[in-house]
Symmetry: D2
Subunit: 130 residues, 4 copies
Amino acid sequence: MTNIAILVGRIARDPETRTTQGGTTVTTISLVTDRPARDKEGKTYKDENGYTAKDSEFHRVTCFNGLGQNVAKYCSKGQLVSLEGRIHYTQWNDQDGNKRYGCEILADKVDFLSRPNRSDNQDAPPIDED
Amino acid sequence: MTNIAILVGRIARDPETRTTQGGTTVTTISLVTDRPARDKEGKTYKDENGYTAKDSEFHRVTCFNGLGQNVAKYCSKGQLVSLEGRIHYTQWNDQDGNKRYGCEILADKVDFLSRPNRSDNQDAPPIDED
Amino acid sequence: MTNIAILVGRIARDPETRTTQGGTTVTTISLVTDRPARDKEGKTYKDENGYTAKDSEFHRVTCFNGLGQNVAKYCSKGQLVSLEGRIHYTQWNDQDGNKRYGCEILADKVDFLSRPNRSDNQDAPPIDED
Amino acid sequence: MTNIAILVGRIARDPETRTTQGGTTVTTISLVTDRPARDKEGKTYKDENGYTAKDSEFHRVTCFNGLGQNVAKYCSKGQLVSLEGRIHYTQWNDQDGNKRYGCEILADKVDFLSRPNRSDNQDAPPIDED
DNA sequence: TTTT
DNA sequence: TTTT
């Protein structure tokens, strides 16, 4: 059944990557999407710096295997990215034995809409995400 | 910036609806999307009842105003529904003062793909969701 | 770059399928999506049969390989289907040498939301579309 | 019923805009989405200039009313844009009386992902698309 | 050309 | 926690 998330936003910090015991690469990014904030009358307004105020959402996005490797290699803080994936909910018990819930986007495809910002990636080639 | 969720699934339980002090109707539904579960070899398998095993996601979906009223009126447990909205994260402090996080889909449109199941809605007309 | 079409609708007629010289299965379906028609005041209205009048779009959807085989096998006229794909434009010269243009959806996934209607498929199992 | 197109691409030429007799602004843009081209083995390859070869789709996108006005005002050739809309098919008779068919995306939202390129728009403010 |  |  259809469970699709489509996001275009900026990478909030450099990706985190790890390899599972089974050899799977798992890369996590934080992606910010924002939209104009509205006051009670439904109108947009400026923030103290003169920019249109906005409401931001910070999405936790997880990428596996080859996609995870590419994202870890070519993706960096500040980059503009579009991606497609599905919404997945997680749960676990915290140290106090309380049930905790999380939500993440499991990405199927990631497209890079701006060049990498990391100094060590200045000539990174465009990547094909699948 | 693009933040779109598109879901097709079944309503897990009858909607809950309330009205804020400001007069806004807020209706919440739990929507289940599922996909075939895969074993370690990536193959689908049967559960103990002979059905293809599945992984289910339970989405919390919130509908405001007229859409919230229609969903409260015409939507019921078991119904097949398609919807479009955006992903929104919430946070609050629990009774122990710990920060807690939640995730919900704020729906823009809801389409009913099967007839209502509630006895009191047998002749509910098809609704136009916007 | 993102090019995504997401459709939920009914199959307008039984699928057509063929195999290319290279052995690729190519199955084509006609999918109808509709939305409430609106009059000049932007209001919905009833047709002569008492149903809410609607505007219909007939999408040409193409499915390749295994997906094409499944769709040919299990899909039939009248079935409710959700699908994801991308928009593709074609062009060719007609018999008079005029350039002609077409548009089709190349499907990546197809989900069956209702049982098949064909008498020879009454006990077709649910299919996994990828 | 769900009929959603989501596109991220570049504007191929400056928008064309007109006003109907009824006073509706209608703006049309050509949006290019591309993806890596694949050879028969399914691998990407380089073109004669050393770039990864790509397959391009040129979408005709139509925007009405306020959205049409904003797009006409702030949008220009070369700009990177993300948009959401629905697929619509048109038909008409050509000068020889033959039935001709077209396809366009009727946009609901347009987001500008890069600054305008037109010299007369250098200090255009960011726009809110709805 | 579908279905309610 | 991003960017304009």
